[in-house]
Every structure is written in C-alpha cells, then in structure tokens.
Amino acid sequence: MYVAVKGGEAAISNAHALLADRRRGDRDVPALRLDQIVEQLGLAVDRAMGEGSLYDRELAALAILQARGDLIEAIFLVRAYRTTLPRFGFSRPLDTGAMHIERRISATFKDLPGGQMLGPTFDYTHRLLDPALVGAAVEAPLERVGEESAAPRVTDMLGHAGLIEPDGETDPSREVGDLTREPLDFPLDRDLRLQALARGDEGFLLALGYSTQRGYGRSHPFVGEIRIGEVEVEFEIPELGFAVSLGRVRVTECQMVNQFKGSASVPPQFTRGYGLVFGQAERKAMSMSLVDRALRAREFGEDIVAPAQDEEFVISHADNVQATGFVEHLKLPHYVDFQAELDLLRRLRAEHEGGQAMGEAAE
C-alpha cells in the first residue's frame, strides 16, 4: 500500500545533524581552530576571500571550516554573508605602485628599479612530498633581510616612453560600477568586467586564459609584472573633504603586456591585460589579466572568434556560486516536468507503433 511521502522536515534535520557529525570527524582528533586555518591554509583562505569578495581572513577561515574544505561552498558562505552588509561607498583607487612588496617579478626585463623579488613562491620548488612537514618541530620564524626600496610599476616605466597604453583616465565624477548593486547590462564597461573577473572562478578563468595561449584568441602575452603585497585602502569622507586610511589589504596584481596596437592618431604601442585579486592568488591574477585582454577585443576592433573574447559568454558563466547552484539544482525534484515529458514520449511511441502497424497492414 502506498503511503504518501511525508517527513521532509525530519529528513532535512537529520541530514544537517549528520553533516555536522561528518564535518567534525573523529572526535579523538583535535578540532581545527580558525587561527590554524588562517595561518597554515592561507592560500585557501585567500581564494575564499577573493571569490567571496569580502576581505576578512577570519570569516573566510570559518567558511572553509564550515564547508569542510569545499572552497566553492566556502565562497558561497562568504558571499551570502557579504550581501547582508551595508555599502558605504567605494574607496579611492589603490596605489599599487606604493605597495609594501613581498613578491615582485617581471618576465620582460632582466633587472629593473626595485629589483626582482621571488618571495614566497612555489615556482622553483621540486614537487616532492615532504614527510618532514608532518609533526615538524617548531622553527623560529624567518626574518626577511634587506631593505625595501621603491619599486615603480613596470607599466609606468614603459609608459614614460609611450611604449604601452596608459592606465587611462576616468571621469572623477563617474561612480565606479558595482555588479552586486546593479544588474548587469551587456555590453559592460571595463570596471564592471574587471569586478566580475575578480570574483570569477579561478578554474574557469584559468581554462579560458589557457585557451587564449593555445590560439583561441591569441594575444601574445608577456608578464610585465606580478606583485604581491599590502596596499593602503583610502576612503574619501565627504563630510571631512579628505581621504582617510581604512587599513591595508594584501593583493596580487598582474600586468600582462600584449601585442601592440596603433591607429592613425596613436603610434603603435603595447596593450595591456589587468588582474587584481585579494590575497596571494597569482594563478588567478594571471588568468584574469589574460581574459581581460581577450575581452578587450571589441575595444581594439579585433575579430571576436574565440570563447575568451565573448563577453556575455565569459561573464555570464564565470561566477562559481551561480554556476554550482544551477548545475546542482538538477538534483532537486523535477518529477512534474519529467511526467510531462514521459506523457508526450509515450504518446509519440504509441503513434509510432500505430503508424508501423498501419504500414504493415497496407503491404
């Protein structure tokens, strides 16, 4: 005998209880503390902050803990919290030229003012699993030696000679776009596009950036500069009439230098792709700058032939919170619609059989 399916409520609360249990794991293993995640899983924290669009390491660590290490789930948690926060305004443009640099490299010049600084990079590590890390004795923290010297941005140095397109001027009275407050309206201005990319999924942008290197929208990129470090965030307070510092954020900036363009009025010069991400997120910043450059195709009058150049395609699908929601919603019940399809399919098959029987009778 069929019994109507009841108990959704009990099922959900049981599932939540089980989730909490599995998240905690073996109770003999000490629970993770947020400071452990912040300090020792820093790059995961950075990714949750960057794609979550909220600069708060501790909240990001909480999200990672709550999400059992699932970073897209953690990003979602951060976003859902962020969206409830009031928006006071927008900061003045970050002066990344004045960054307190921890890492700074250029692939276009052997040496340059400010020097090359490798910083904390995986780049030249040999990827050999290191058992010594397990239960390693506490070492004394490393002091960084050497004084910090001013490191002007490579693009500014090239810019002095007019070899590269300038940063560009925006009308100071123009409010910077914010896709979290206004619905997107294609085609986008570059500020909104960069905002969408900065929040976009690292894996998606990585794949798109990669595709431009393999010929789908080739742009002949060189890493003009990657710099990671802390910059000051300044906020203009209208009542005061001057800007005050809100504090510092750690960011990764990538300036990609791309094939030159010129016109009748402008002599040929290098073009640029730009990436800026919260925290240390070099792969993301590089991918972002490749995709940014690809998306400027329309601006430079280039043929739009590759996925990475297609603004609607890229921006509409870059957000992993949206993407994972819609992909995963397929597991929600769809039996009403499925029933409708089933009904039609049965009818079509019956007609098909009927038609065949008629055909045989006629023969």
């Binding site: 005998m1 069929y2 019994v3 109507a4 399916v5 009841k6 108990g7 959704g8 409520e9 099922a11 959900i12 947020l34 708060d56 501790e58 909240l59 909480l62 979602f76 976003r79 859902a80 919290y81 962020r82 969206t83 409830t84 009031p86 979290t180 407050r181 206004e182 619905p183 997107l184 309206d185 294609f186 085609p187 609607e312 509409s316 919170v321 949206q322 994972t324 929601g325 819609f326 992909v327 995963e328 919603h329 929600l332 019940p333 769809h334 039996y335 009403v336 619609d337 029933q339 409708a340 399809e341 089933l342 009904d343 039609l344 009818r347 079509l348 007609e351």
Partner: protein
C-alpha cells in the same frame, strides 16, 4: 571576529526590499516584461528558488500567511526548507492550505484550486527568457522582445510539429501576455498554463541567478502560443488519482514495483488531502486514519 550577524525582518535589508519592490511595480505595470534587478546572494543556492525567495521576502509582512510548494507538494524537501526559512526570519504563519495563504511560493506547479482575489502566487524561475534556447545572447533577446520579433519561436513550434506531429514542449510552454510580451511561465507543465489566464490573483516571477523579475497582474490575458490547425492542448490523464479519485488534475506517476506496477496520484498534495477529508476515495486509498500516516 565580527559579532554574530543580525538579520532584518524577512532576511533582506530594507533598501534591498525597496529596490525589489520597485522592480515588481515596474513588472506589474508592463505585464510579461522582464525587469532587471540587482539580485542578491541568498543563504540558499542559486537554482533553489533565490528569485522567488527574494520576491517573497520583499512583499511579505508580519500578517501574511505563507504556503510553499515544490512540484505541487508542501512536503518536498525544498518547499519544507523555504517555508522553514520564512518561519524563522520573518516569523510568519505558514499553511499548507491553498485557500488560507495570502502568499504562495511555488516551483513547477500552479495549485489546482484557482487563486482568489488578493492572493499572490510567487514563481521560482530558473531561466526567465523564453527565447533563450533559440538565441543564447541576452543582447539579442532583449532586442527581439523590444521589436516584438517572435517569429523564431513560432518556427520552433512549427518544426516540432513537422518532426513529431506535436508541439514537443510539455513544460515551460511559452505564453503571450496581454497581446504583447512572450513570457516563460517557469517550468510548470503546460497543463497549468490556462490557470494563468484572467486569474484574480497577482502572479510574480523571480529569477535570482538571471537577475530578472516579471509579473502577470490580476485579470490579465495569458495565451499559450499555438497554430490554428494545431491548437494548444493540455495533458490529459487516462485514470483518476488513485488516492482521492480526482479527474482533470495533474498527476504524478509513482512506481510501485520493478514489474511495471505504477499508480497516479495528485501532484497537488493539499488538493488531494482536502478531497480525501471530504470523503472522496480513489481505488488505492487507504482507510481513514491510515491515509495520513
């Protein structure tokens, strides 16, 4: 660490609600037109009804009575979850009875009982653009709506007929609202389309991930697209509901065993229960008392 987060009545802050209400007003003023709005991240995933939840959160007041259904049923997990969300963040009364609700949020169905004047039906919409699967670009589809350029849709329906002998769209069947905008009714089975026409209630549609809100105001003409020689028809079930004996309602197929045994029961659980309470019995109905277990 920030202090424990405090949330406003019905979760959304008042500015956001105002922004959404403005979009709703515009949508009501231009029936069937998709109004862009600045959709927020909600504490449930995109695809779980964030558009509907935002619409409901913006219009709900402390005196409202909320009903939430998914696939026509009040007890599907997502309906339970959304109902619990509003019971928690808005502390509103909830009900499973269609007649008692002032706001009904739905996914994939329109209740069998017609809406009354003053009732609001909020639809959760995954893809608000009826032309999306014919033209993936938003820039293009907006132009097509602006120019009332709907030929492509008719060609699609015509191709269905020439290929299958029928229009092969069984749900999310496109409608024309008040003779102007072609609209996606959300993925409700086409069985429900006629209920949208000249409804006394207000119908609001929220698509969170796609940042769109649209509406069908009360007493608005909603016509399913068709051809003179291939008129629009709705699904017809051969047998009545096995539990309450209802005919002319939408049924779910329940598989009973692995030998092809199946039964058909009302998709609208409230409708089915009310009929059984009124003494109606289908051929597989349990005895009184057992039916509610």
């Amino acid at each position: 660490m920030n202090a424990i987060a405090q949330y406003n009545f019905a979760y959304l802050d008042e500015q956001t609600k105002r922004m959404i209400r403005r979009a709703i007003l515009k949508a009501v003023a231009i029936p069937g037109y998709q109004v862009p709005f600045s959709s927020r991240e909600m504490p449930m995933p995109y695809g779980w009804g964030t558009g509907g939840v935002q619409v409901t959160a913006s219009i709900i007041g402390p005196d409202d009575v909320l009903k939430v259904i998914d696939q026509g049923a009040d007890d599907t997990t997502n309906a339970v979850s959304i109902r619990a969300f509003f019971a928690k963040v808005a502390n509103v009364a909830t009900t499973t009875h269609t007649a008692e609700a002032s706001i009904i949020q739905t996914r994939h169905r329109i209740p069998e009982r017609g809406l009354a004047e003053g009732q609001i039906l909020v639809y959760q919409v995954p893809i608000p653009e009826p032309l999306r699967f014919l033209e993936p670009r938003e820039t293009e589809t907006r132009k097509m709506h602006a120019l009332e350029e709907y030929g492509l849709m008719h060609v699609k329906l015509y191709e269905d007929i020439s290929r299958h002998g029928h229009i092969a769209t069984t749900y999310a069947y496109p409608v024309k609202v008040e003779g102007r905008y072609v609209m996606d009714p959300s993925p409700t089975p086409k069985f429900d389309n006629p209920k949208m026409n000249m409804s006394p209630g207000l119908q609001l549609f929220g698509a969170g991930r796609e940042h769109r809100i649209y509406a069908v105001p009360p007493w608005t003409e909603v016509v399913s697209l068709d051809f003179e020689d291939h008129p629009f028809t709705i699904q017809h079930f051969e047998e009545p509901c096995a539990l309450c004996g209802a005919e002319g309602v939408y049924l779910d197929e329940v598989i009973l065993d692995d030998l092809g045994g199946r039964m058909f029961v009302c998709s609208d659980t409230d409708y089915c229960e009310e009929r059984r309470e009124a003494g109606h019995r289908g051929h597989l109905a349990a005895d009184q008392g057992e039916a509610n277990s």
